[in-house]
Amino acid sequence: MNMQIVRFSLAAALLTAAPILEMASANDFRERGKAAKLSASAVSITPPRDWNKLDIRPGKFAETWTLDGEQLNDVTFYTGVEPGAPLVKERNKKRKPLPKFGAETLLVEVPELLEGTYRAYKEIGEFRLTGSKPGSYLGVKGVEFTYDYTDGDQIRRQGEAHAAIIGGKLYMATYDAPKIHFFQRNIADYRALISTAKIM
């Protein structure tokens, strides 16, 4: 009898907790024209159109925004990566370490850092940097580069990224989308989005 009461109260507690849990794990809406802060950092962005922010973050310094789902158009912001830290959370620090951003990392090497991170994290061989040139991000001189790769789902993706090193920390935005149709469809949205990024 006692057991039944315990079970009932446990079920009741779970039922009442469910909406709260659901809210806590929901993805967020980023409304057009409303400034939003990135990963509790000093970077703010005012999206020119509505975006979704995914709740699951790739790492301590990263967060992902998307229009139709991360497999179709994925904008990931890496905000204030500190020297000695990897871009995304390592699956296993000891067995499968990821390349780290370093105090000595040069701007010209940032594309290689992203390449190393993708190759090691996804364990793929098919990744190609297709070009890099001086650009700007957060109003600071930086690097702009492009790449393509084939992910584990065998879909060929194309990417464009903008990065800058500010105060010894790395700030970067990447846009990854399938080469067929999606990359071209939303590249302008990505560029418009990151052009509103500001560091306070």
């Binding site: 390349p99 701007l107 290689e112 793929i124 061989g125 001086p134 084939t150």
Partner: protein, 398 residues
């Protein structure tokens, strides 16, 4: 049905036990029986599923569509198992930097690029491919499918029977049975691997290649695993223990019994190392880059050093430089600059080596030399993708 299942397991156990005997070498393969065709509803079904997988694979971007490389690997397989047998196989080289090769029921062989980087000779490659062919010839996928079905059938009935009996002993008996069935299925898989090793070495013993190479593959892999673990600050791995979930026998055991199964008088046969090196030539830099991308410092350093045992080339020095520069400690960068210089000494027109050298020097407080190296890089590769960034880097040094 159960008795015949036990019979199959028993037979394979015996086949598995045979390799551990030091007095017996692997027997030659039986005469070729003709083209393989699926028999029975299970095997026909497996082949149909596999045909679909193969058509997806053949259009996949993961496959390296290099006619010469694929033909070469297929030839090595044929030189091990004979032309009759190898006609039933289609080889696909998959660009994936791990050590692996697979064979599926309809004769699709996937050879991973990571395997091609790791083996050193035709004989070593033939040993792995012969093992995979052994799985095909003995219809192991079908056997595993049937064993799994038998095991899960048994568990389903046991679940029904134990549910009739509402006491903890029935539940515990079911749990014990479950562990025992899963354990025996995993053991069955390991015995399949042992049998494929035995069959594979049987082919090598009657081929023109050196069968002792098979043990060498596993010795090299153990050394690489150990180098990788040491660089990561982990405990030295054990190669003599069989874990409950292990899909393959431990590497130490395989190296030992493969060595014993090889025909001793065949130790003088050629291993085709020169031909192998030549065939892999254009692909070695690509596979090395993929390997370095895995961020496994110890493993990559081991592989580069082992490739260099036949002599250092500019490609090997360059990739060693890339490996050290990617790790990026100050000491690493000094070493990297040295390795790039060695690459340039062997090939003064190696543009990418100048790039690495320049960047490594800039980061080790040698900007003047670094700028000169980067200028040389742009001179040798005027259309470089990162030209503007390199120019920006050198300009910022002023």
């Amino acid at each position: 049905m159960m008795l015949s299942a036990l019979g199959v397991i028993g037979a394979i156990l015996m086949a598995g036990a045979a390799p551990q005997s030091k007095t017996r070498t692997a027997p030659p393969p039986p005469p070729f029986q003709g083209v393989y065709q699926p028999q029975g509803v299970d095997e026909i079904g497996l082949w149909k599923v596999d045909d679909e997988n193969e058509s997806k694979l053949s259009n996949s971007r993961a496959v390296i569509h290099d006619e010469a490389l694929t033909a070469y690997v297929k030839n090595v397989l044929c030189s091990a198992v004979g032309n009759d047998r190898c006609n039933s196989v289609r080889v696909y080289i998959v660009r994936e930097p791990s050590f692996n090769a697979t064979m599926s029921p309809n004769g699709t062989m996937r050879v991973f690029s990571g395997l091609l980087l790791r083996v050193r000779s035709e004989a070593e490659l033939a040993a792995v491919l012969g093992h995979e062919f052994g799985h095909f010839e003995r219809r192991h996928t079908l056997e595993r499918f049937k064993a799994q079905r038998r095991g899960t059938d048994l568990l389903s009935w046991a679940a029904v029977l134990s549910s009739f009996n509402n006491n903890p002993y029935a539940r515990r008996s079911f749990d014990d049975l479950e562990l025992s069935v899963y354990g025996s299925l995993l053991r069955f898989n390991r015995d399949n691997e042992r049998e494929a090793d035995l069959v594979g070495l049987g082919y090598l013993n009657v081929s023109a290649l050196r069968p002792q190479a098979a043990a060498r593959v596993w010795q090299n892999l153990m050394a690489e695993t150990e180098a990788s673990a040491v660089a990561k600050g982990m405990k030295r791995p054990r190669f003599d223990r069989v874990a409950y979930f292990a899909s393959h026998p431990p590497e130490g055991e395989r190296a030992a019994y493969l060595g014993a199964l090889a025909l001793p008088e065949a130790a003088d046969r050629p291993d085709g190392a020169d031909r192998y090196r030549q065939a892999m030539g254009p692909w070695t830099p690509v596979f090395l880059k993929d390997q370095i991308g895995l961020n496994d410092f110890g493993g990559s350093e081991y592989l580069i050093n082992s490739l260099a045992s036949d002599g250092w080339t500019s490609t090997l020095w360059f990739h060693r430089g890339e490996l050290f520069r990617a790790r990026g400690g100050q000491r690493d960068l000094v070493h990297a600059a040295d390795f790039y210089s060695q690459a340039i000494a062997l090939d003064p027109l190696y543009a990418d080596a100048y790039r690495g050298l320049g960047l490594a020097m800039i980061k080790t407080a040698r900007p003047t030399e670094g700028r000169a190296a980067l200028a040389r890089y742009l001179e040798l590769k005027p259309e470089a993708d990162d030209r503007a960034m390199i120019e920006l880097t050198t300009a910022s040094l002023n």
